[in-house]
């Protein structure tokens, strides 16, 4: 954050940490309420929570959170206590780290890393570690199967996720998320500079691949085999109770927000609005980014609430036989156009 440049290092760091600590739960609550409760309910011709808090049950999730915190923290006798206790935190930390590089305005970014998108994809795969720790330490066969499924799935879908981003990085010529946003604001579609170049126009296959892969990364239906409740009880979260369970769910929902934000930044132009710069962009940026994030998140949850779960081999087939070749082709075509223009 450029605004914080005058402050001493410790103060700036404290503020940045505070922002992240605030944004993650709020984003999880917003997505959880808007999509997991309300959109899902209406897609199933229900109303969802209506009573808590008075207005359309807005307080429901906060109340759920308080309930989770009050619950007993049960650790199975056979569990590896230290690892078991640490696992949800590892998953949540990966989510926290993900929010660091997401820009919400020209000056509104916690840390604009040069390798921003590389960093984001790297820390997002950190959650696999936490999931494996949870599954292994639970000393429960369902947890272990769920964790191994999650590991296999996240590794398989990390690849198309990264490859889909490669096209964007090639076109923008930078890995910094701010740089990518600026390129989209100023660039042009094949020489036409009307509204800049939101990469969804030139990288549509990349956007679609990214969405599918993000769906799998978030272990959302139709790719929710790690949690498959009809097969594995609750996958790697089977043995978790109370606030540790809450951590997993907060991490999942907040990561959905983060990945939607990254998708919005990479493909929809992020905080940028054509011809808007400076302070106005700083004010308008979070709103614009928020709208775009909600749009992408709606797509993610819409797919989640519509499709049934795939089979484990179908899941792997979609990644290795379809998405990865398609994303490689996308890179090839992007490279050709990059050289030609």
């Amino acid at each position: 954050m450029v605004i914080l440049a005058d402050l001493p290092y410790w103060a700036a760091t404290a503020i940045k940490t505070g922002v992240i600590l605030g944004v993650v739960p709020v984003s999880a609550l917003v997505l959880g309420y808007v999509f997991l409760m309300k959109t899902m309910a209406h897609m199933q011709s229900r109303l969802g929570p209506m009573e808590p808090g008075g207005f359309h049950g807005w307080y429901q999730l906060i109340g759920d959170g308080i309930k989770f915190i009050q619950k007993e923290d049960i650790i199975p006798t056979q569990a590896d206590r230290a690892i078991f206790a640490m696992a949800p935190a590892v998953v949540l930390v990966s989510t926290f780290l993900l929010f660091v590089v997401i820009p919400a305005g020209p000056d509104l970014v916690v840390e604009d890393l040069d390798a921003g998108i590389f960093y984001a994809l790297a820390v997002s795969s950190l959650s696999v570690l936490g999931i494996l720790m949870a599954g292994w330490a639970s000393a429960n066969k369902y947890s272990l199967i769920g964790a191994l499924r999650a590991a296999g799935q996240l590794i398989a879908y990390e690849l198309p996720l990264v490859l889909a981003v490669v096209g964007v990085v090639m076109e923008a010529g930078t890995m910094s998320l701010q740089g990518i946003v600026r390129f989209q604001q100023h660039g042009g579609v094949f020489g036409w500079h009307g509204i800049g170049d939101p990469f969804i126009l030139t990288q549509l296959p990349g956007f679609l691949i990214f969405l599918v892969a993000a769906q799998a990364e978030l272990t959302q239906a139709p790719f929710d085999m790690p949690l498959a409740e009809s097969e594995l009880v609750a996958g790697y979260t089977t043995e978790y109770t109370g606030f540790r369970f809450l951590f997993f769910y907060m991490a999942e929902t907040a990561t959905a927000f983060a990945l939607a934000a990254i998708a919005a930044t990479l493909f929809l132009g992020g905080w940028a609005v054509p011809w808007v710069h400076g302070t106005v962009a700083n004010v308008l940026g979070p709103v614009v980014l928020g709208a775009k994030v909600m749009t992408v998140a709606f797509l993610i949850y819409w797919i989640r609430f519509t499709y049934p779960r795939l089979r484990e081999d179908q899941l792997q087939a979609v990644a290795w036989k379809f998405l990865i070749p398609l994303s490689l082709l996308n890179i090839l075509v992007t490279a050709v156009f990059k050289v030609a223009y």
Partner: protein, 160 residues
């Protein structure tokens, strides 16, 4: 329409989207109410005067939720100089709605039209014991029992 690969996926998304845009079917019960169907099985009403304490309902009840007690009485003879008649008087007729599963066998089995279905359904209680309705409470439901359906053309009217 020819088969396009993945058209089913798009159709599925269409279904959820359309459902989302339509108003939900949920009725916010205590705030708004749906009128139940006229002959819905809400509660069982007792027409005390028709009951002969024959116990058929209590015996046919799968849950044993009907409690009947009665005693024999001498009623005045029909004709002058005749023997006094022996009739059953009803002392207690309770239905425990905490047990009742609304099968309606008692209503079907009653040979003297003493039991009726009423569509009323709002009689929940704070204490489970209060769900035991005595014969006065069951009698109050009689006001809410709908008229029997009209007889078919040519049917023989019931004897009084």
């Amino acid at each position: 329409m020819p088969d396009i690969p993945g058209q089913g996926l798009i159709k599925g998304l269409g279904v959820t989207l359309r459902t989302m845009l339509k108003p939900a079917v949920t009725t916010q019960y205590p705030k708004e109410k749906e009128a139940p169907a006229i002959r819905s099985r809400g509660v069982i009403a007792l027409h005390e005067g028709n009951c002969t304490v024959c116990m058929l309902c209590a015996r046919s009840c799968p849950d044993w939720c009907i409690y009947i007690e009665g005693h024999k009485e001498k009623a005045p003879p029909r004709r002058a100089g005749g023997r006094p008649r022996q009739v059953n008087a009803l002392d207690r007729f309770d239905i425990d709605y905490a047990l009742c599963m609304y099968c309606g066998i008692c209503v079907d089995v009653c040979p003297f039209d003493a039991l009726f279905w009423s569509p009323e359904y709002e009689y929940s209680e704070w204490k489970i014991a209060d769900l035991l309705h005595d014969k006065d409470r069951l009698g109050e439901w009689m006001d809410t029992v709908p008229e029997p359906p009209p007889l078919e053309v040519g049917a023989q009217a019931a004897k009084k």
